[in-house]
């Protein structure tokens, strides 16, 4: 056995690298309430791409050991390949989004597409380091590297959520004639008494109060707001159909203090659940702003968060 391991060091390294890479991809591939990637074919696509990414990363090491330096160009090929994955995801989601009652919005889509590309690079890195450790030292060093990378992947997998930047509170939906307010924030003008009655019966309101200027800038982002509305509609169902523009969920800002009012008509009227959902909405990478990090704001001392 030991003789075999010593004789086939590179093969073992590659195998371990591929295995670690695929494990990392499977670990990162979660089909949750959003049902994306779709099951089963969407998953098959991404698992296959994960296998390719893992193989590329694992094979790079022995190629370099054999002084086959041009092999590194394959990694450039891989990068191109995974940029295409991102493009493919973006295009698919954008097309599908037009047929959603409550769309995800471009920022959410870009976030998802970015995650797909980024995770493939993580797979390459995992496979590369695993196979490197296995070939330079021993197979158990490779296994240790794989474990370390899986821990790193786990840390990178989870992003932050709204509850990190703002406090959500369930509030009253108030109607003053045709004017609709959530708490004291003006939402829209509803002309028909039929719609006013539906809103009175089913409407829920939530107000987000940001903790600091960073949070204020982030929840003001239209893409982030759309993501909140999309998650709410997916989880609670939305009381709406095509041709009912008055019943669309809305998120409006109180421009004076940066609070965000959210109004929607859920199928399942449960305000507390809605509040919890809003708190768990992921913060979209492209929506994050950090005004407190700017030089002009440092004189006043740094705000936390």
């Amino acid at each position: 056995m030991m003789v075999f391991l010593a004789a086939h060091k590179q093969t073992i390294g590659i195998l371990l690298g591929v295995l670690a890479g695929v494990t990392a991809r499977l670990y990162m591939l979660h089909t949750d309430y959003r049902q994306y990637p779709t099951y089963p074919h969407g998953r098959i696509i991404h698992i296959s791409l994960g296998v390719i990414a893992a193989a590329l990363g694992a094979i790079a090491v022995p190629a370099l050991f054999n002084k086959d330096y041009t092999a590194i160009t394959f990694l450039a090929l891989a990068a191109q390949q995974f940029r295409d994955v991102r493009k493919m995801e973006r295009e698919t989601l954008t097309v599908i989004d037009r047929l959603e009652l409550v769309p995800r919005g471009a920022t959410y889509i870009e976030g998802i597409a970015m995650v797909f590309e980024g995770r493939n690079y993580l797979v390459i890195l995992t496979a590369f380091l695993t196979s490197l450790a296995a070939i330079v030292w021993e197979w158990y060093a490779g296994a240790a590297a794989a474990l370390l990378m899986l821990l790193a992947v786990r840390k990178l997998r989870s992003g932050k959520s709204i509850s990190h930047i703002a406090a959500a509170e369930a509030v009253q939906v108030r109607q003053d004639g045709p004017d609709l307010f959530v708490d004291d924030i003006y939402m829209m003008n509803v002309g028909l008494t039929a719609n006013q009655a539906i809103i009175k019966e089913r409407g829920i309101g939530i107000v987000l109060t940001p903790f600091n200027p960073n949070g204020k800038a982030t929840i003001a982002n239209l893409g982030q707001r759309q993501a909140i509305l999309y998650d709410l509609s997916t989880l609670l169902g939305v009381f709406r159909d095509e041709g009912e523009p008055a019943l669309v969920p809305l998120a409006k800002l109180d421009m004076k203090d940066g609070r965000l009012a959210i109004f929607m008509l859920p199928q399942e009227k449960d305000v507390n659940k809605a509040r919890e959902i809003v708190e768990r909405v992921p913060i979209l990478e492209s929506a994050v702003r950090m005004p407190t990090e700017a030089g002009v704001n440092h004189k006043e001392g740094r705000a936390s968060g």
């Binding site: 004639g177 002309g191 041709g243 009912e244 523009p245 008055a246």
Partner: protein, 61 residues
């Protein structure tokens, strides 16, 4: 961009301009017409609080 799709009014003299105008005799009839037009035009009804209901087609919805 938002576009005025139609106007439902109680007073013919109060409105004019490029959008189709529907004149109704009672508030009740005005509501009914506006309701139908909302479904037909896929535009939301807004109350201008002066006896005029205006149907607006909002751009991104």
């Amino acid at each position: 961009m938002a576009k005025v799709a139609a106007i439902v009014t109680l007073d013919r003299e109060a409105v004019g301009g490029g959008a189709p105008i529907f004149v109704e005799q009672s508030r009740e009839q005005q509501e009914k017409t506006a309701f139908l037009l909302e479904k037909i035009l896929d535009a939301s009804v807004h109350d201008l609080k002066n006896g005029i209901l205006v149907l607006v087609k909002h751009g991104d919805k």
